[in-house]
Amino acid sequence: MVLKIFIPFVCFVLGLFQASIGLANDADPIPFEIEALDHLKLSVDQILATIQDPKFTQDPDEQEQIFYTRAMELFDFKTFSMLSLGRKFKFFTKDQKESFVYYFSKLISQTYFTQLAGKDVQNVTIQYMENRPLKPKKNMFRTDILTQISQGEKQIQVTYRMIKKKTRDWKIYDIKVAGVSMAANYREQYRQKLSQTPEAIIIELREKVEK
């Protein structure tokens, strides 16, 4: 009789215990901004390791290809392009948007990543200062990661603006250097060219990339 009552009671208590553990695990997922920070740290470390690798290819074409692949992994070029084009993005057709994103990603990779090859990055240190999550919207999470990059006595503040859409990885959609946004800078340039058609913008971008 005692066993008949005792066994179900123990099962019930164990069940409650397991359920509470389960609830505790569900209630404490890793905050999304920490996930973004970890992803950024890993990506930056990988790029620095690639440049410092003594076996890193000396062929400029191969270097460009490697950096382009890395840039594609690290950046959300669709959002970056949209932010850079501003209002003009609305007047692009689907194909024109794809072409713009392709050449824009090539331009960013060539301008900023390829320049890193052969540079001394031994004493470059990155301090991750602050992580400012933004209000999530439409299955989209965003956070601003404030860093201070130092090389010797030189210091500069760089903010990485990161985004995560649905099941995709965290990616950078804008970079602010000393408070100046890269996307805002491109948008200002495109805003000045009032009469430029989407085709003309893409042709100009393609010529810059192929130079």
């Binding site: 003009k88 993005f89 439409k138 030189k154 996307a183 948008r187």
Partner: protein, 150 residues
Amino acid sequence: MNRRKIEIYVGLFVIIGVITMGYLILAIGEVSFFPKNQYLLHGYFASATGLKQGARVEIAGVEIGTVSSICIDKERLVAKVVFRINGDMELSDDSIVSVKTAGIIGQKYIDISPGGSDDILEDGDEIDNTESSLDIESLVRKFIFAPDKP
């Protein structure tokens, strides 16, 4: 009788003068008895130096609203700026807001660069893309104390 006429004229003159004066005060102070259809947006800035309440909010140099209030966000310790935007002006959620200066030593104002997103900002929404005012002093300091200066 004549005296009474003069008094009436003087009285009318004073009344017209007071009404004109009152109209001028309201017009210069941009006070409206019929509140415009407007909505509020806000943004956070690392620095809102020189920006004043009532400053212009512009798109392409055309006024579309004013700065409603400026205060410190006690949690983040950054400036929170609230804008009052004209109701007929639709702004997408990827608009970029910058604190700019009219001329070299002119007044600060807010410039909005409209975005291309289909999501439109509504009353009480936050604009995420903000650029603070340029701090000339810190730029000069960086230039003067640059370690690799010859």
